[in-house]
């Protein structure tokens, strides 16, 4: 459904590189998650695929339509939810939905089945102005508006940023149901727990895709041993570990430190290394999370050379 081939985009006459020739494809009914820090190029990619931005070079097709030449066809068959809430704040929930249905030449009734689950939650507030909705409700309304014309592909740019945990969970349940109905979804998120719910994940960094794979395989591709260290002196220990020649990577992760040593040795030997630095610290071998994998990818030589 989405074919991206060597897309390049630069800003400021080539000075700022947003996308360095990325390629990937998304199949029908697939949910692809885009993950990467700010400035990785996620939003530029979204804007190119939704025909808002022209790429410098490369080709991309959405639903078999070319993004540069057949942009009018694409605009009828994609739904886009920008990162920033961008519906009319002074129109009510119902009026916003009505407006976006009509500009796509359809009616709310015609495609009500698509948004029924979501809209039922908004029903009590349908007379309320969009500007007065809570964050989670706003996102639900935006999703409804992006869905009302029955798009084949859905582009969601950080749809759950700034939304509470419960609403985030509900939101992803909805995405799951939409996927079952055959919708192709490209979604970016800063939350790793959400990324795990995608069919495949693309790690983006400085305009490149470092890796694109299923969550399972990404986790399996982490070949080193990973340890979580619990300590009260996080900052001092972090600095001490980083200066250690045996350390491969080491970073703070919530309340603990995730440490990847270069050497393969017995746990007790490692324990003694740590306790030499901080006698109260405890060491535990853990399974990697997506974030560990992401940091591991960033440290690979071919990634940093770009």
């Amino acid at each position: 459904m989405i074919e991206v081939n060597n897309i390049v985009k630069t800003y400021n006459k080539g000075k700022v590189k947003a996308l360095n020739g990325i390629s990937f494809s998304v199949g029908k009914g697939e949910v692809l998650g885009l993950i990467g820090p700010d400035g990785a190029g996620k939003t530029s990619l979204f804007r190119i695929l939704t025909t808002l931005l022209l790429p410098d070079s490369g080709e991309a097709q959405v639903n078999n339509f070319h993004v540069v030449t057949n942009f009018n066809d694409i605009r009828t068959c994609v739904g886009y939810m920008p990162g920033r809430f961008s519906l009319y704040l002074d129109l009510t929930v119902e009026e916003n939905l009505h407006f976006f249905a009509t500009v796509f030449n359809t009616t709310i009734e015609e495609n009500y089945h698509l948004i029924k689950d979501i809209y039922e939650q908004l029903q009590p507030f349908k007379e309320r102005k969009a500007g007065k909705l809570s964050g989670g409700m706003k996102q639900k309304l935006a999703l409804c508006c992006a869905l009302i014309h029955k798009p084949a592909v859905l582009f969601l740019d950080e749809p759950t940023t700034g939304v509470d945990v419960v609403s985030r969970k509900e939101f992803w349940q909805m995405l799951g149901r939409l996927k079952e109905q055959g919708l192709t979804i490209l979604v970016s998120t800063p939350y790793m727990d959400e990324a795990l719910l995608c069919d495949r994940i693309a790690f983006m960094h400085k305009g490149d895709i470092l890796s694109i794979n299923t969550p399972k395989e990404i986790l399996a591709s982490f070949h080193r041993e990973l340890f979580a260290i619990k300590t009260t002196k996080t900052f001092q220990l972090l600095n001490a570990l980083r200066s250690l020649p045996d350390t491969y990577t080491c970073f703070a992760f919530g309340e603990s430190i995730h440490w990847v040593p270069k050497i393969h040795t017995t746990p007790s030997a490692l324990q003694s290394i740590i306790q030499a630095l901080d006698e109260n610290a405890t060491l535990e071998k853990i399974n990697p999370t997506l974030e560990d994998c992401f940091i591991d990818l960033l440290n690979q030589p071919n990634a940093s050379s770009n």
């Binding site: 939704t50 025909t51 808002l52 931005l53 022209l54 942009f71 009018n72 605009r75 009828t76 994609v78 886009y80 920008p82 920033r84 809430f85 961008s86 519906l87 009319y88 704040l89 002074d90 129109l91 009026e95 407006f99 976006f100 009509t102 500009v103 796509f104 030449n105 508006c145």
Partner: protein
């Protein structure tokens, strides 16, 4: 085409929600049209006059009476010395000093001529110029009067008397002249600012992104955004005309239909200009500074406050490139002179050409994608 209807539906819905907008749009023009013509008045009245009469003759007294009865001058004080009289001017109590020399009447009769001294406070240029002109007009009149009186009929020389007849505005009624101008000024302010704000607002809150990914053609979208402001501006114009009628008894001599044709033509250019500004601005603050800058130039060079024909050639060329001066001229022609469509055709064509340039430029500059 269908999408135009839905965009209009949305626009009017939003407009109705903005209670502040409706209030400013209607109340402000009404108040301005009631107050401004009274305040912004060119006919100078209440010029304070100080008379230094060294003659104390019946002629000098009669002359002063003639001056003060004209309605333009108030006799602030009489004084015995020029020095004292000038101190009134210095303290901003008097605008004009008239000094009548000793033996004024005698010399006038004996020698057939005498000089008067007039000193005018020229801090306010317009007022000084007009005061001087009024005074010399009155004195000339009086001069002719006393010639007839003192000289025997056989000795009377030929005297010119100029009696101006002010065509189209017989009593030089200032309101008739200024109200069409103020009305145009109001429509300009609201039409330009609101159009420019409206589109930039969509940019600022991000809704333009959503619109841009819809299949709506940009022509219909822009038209849908502009039409409400045509209607709004036309309503304000009508309210203004009504205020002019109710408060100042202004009844246009020409046809109302011609006036509205000129209005629509003008709005085409004006709203196009607002649209053009909004395609260049990214935020309301930016568009506000831009619009403010152009509003000032438009107002100063529109012929509302100053006379166009006395401007240097380059300035006249610039004013011709703005729609405002054409509309003000057309409005005055219709209101005062009763000009018909044929008479204002040059102005209509100018405005249409200007509008065409602005609108085309704006539509080309507005891109649904970057």
């Amino acid at each position: 085409m269908r999408s135009l209807f839905f965009i209009l539906e949305k626009e009017f819905r939003q407009m109705r929600r903005r209670k502040g907008l409706i209030r400013t749009l209607f109340i402000a023009p009404i108040i301005q049209l009631i107050l401004m013509p009274l305040a912004a008045n060119y006919s100078v009245k209440n010029i304070s006059l100080v008379v230094v009469d060294h003659d104390h003759s019946s002629t000098s007294r009669e002359m002063v009476a003639k001056i003060t009865s004209s309605g333009h001058f108030n006799l602030y004080a009489t004084s015995e010395s020029n020095k004292e009289a000038l101190s009134y001017v210095e303290h901003d109590k008097a605008d004009l000093v008239l000094e009548i020399p000793p033996h004024f009447e005698r010399n006038l009769v004996r020698e057939n001529s005498e000089k008067l001294s007039v000193e005018i406070n020229a801090i306010e240029g317009v007022k000084a110029g007009l005061a001087g002109a009024y005074l010399s007009q009155i004195l000339l009149d009086y001069n002719a009067d006393i010639r007839e009186r003192f000289l025997p009929p056989t000795h009377q020389a030929f005297v010119f008397r100029i009696i101006p007849i002010h065509w189209y505005n017989v009593f030089l009624n200032y309101y008739l002249y200024i109200i069409p101008g103020i009305l145009v000024n109001l429509v300009t302010g609201i039409g330009l600012m609101q159009t420019a704000f409206n589109l930039v607002n969509e940019k600022e809150i991000g809704t333009i992104e959503q619109i841009n990914v819809t299949p709506v053609k940009k022509f219909w979208f822009i038209l849908g955004k502009l039409l409400p402001f045509y209607i709004l501006s036309a309503i304000i114009f009508s309210v203004g005309l009504l205020v002019g009628f109710v408060f100042y008894g202004m009844v246009p001599v020409g046809s109302i239909a011609t006036m509205y044709i000129a209005l629509l033509d003008f709005l085409f250019a004006l709203v196009g200009f607002g649209l053009l500004l909004s395609t260049y601005a990214e935020s309301q603050q930016q568009v506000m500074s831009l619009a403010f800058f152009f509003m000032n130039i438009l107002n100063m060079m529109s012929g509302l406050f100053t006379n166009l024909d006395s401007m240097p050639a380059w300035a006249q060329f610039i004013t011709n490139c703005f729609p405002l001066s054409h509309f003000i001229k057309a409005m005055r022609m219709i209101c005062l002179k009763g000009s018909g469509l044929a008479d204002i055709t040059p102005h209509l064509l100018y405005m249409f050409a200007i509008g065409l340039v602005f609108n085309t430029w704006a539509v080309l500059n507005y891109k649904k994608r970057s």
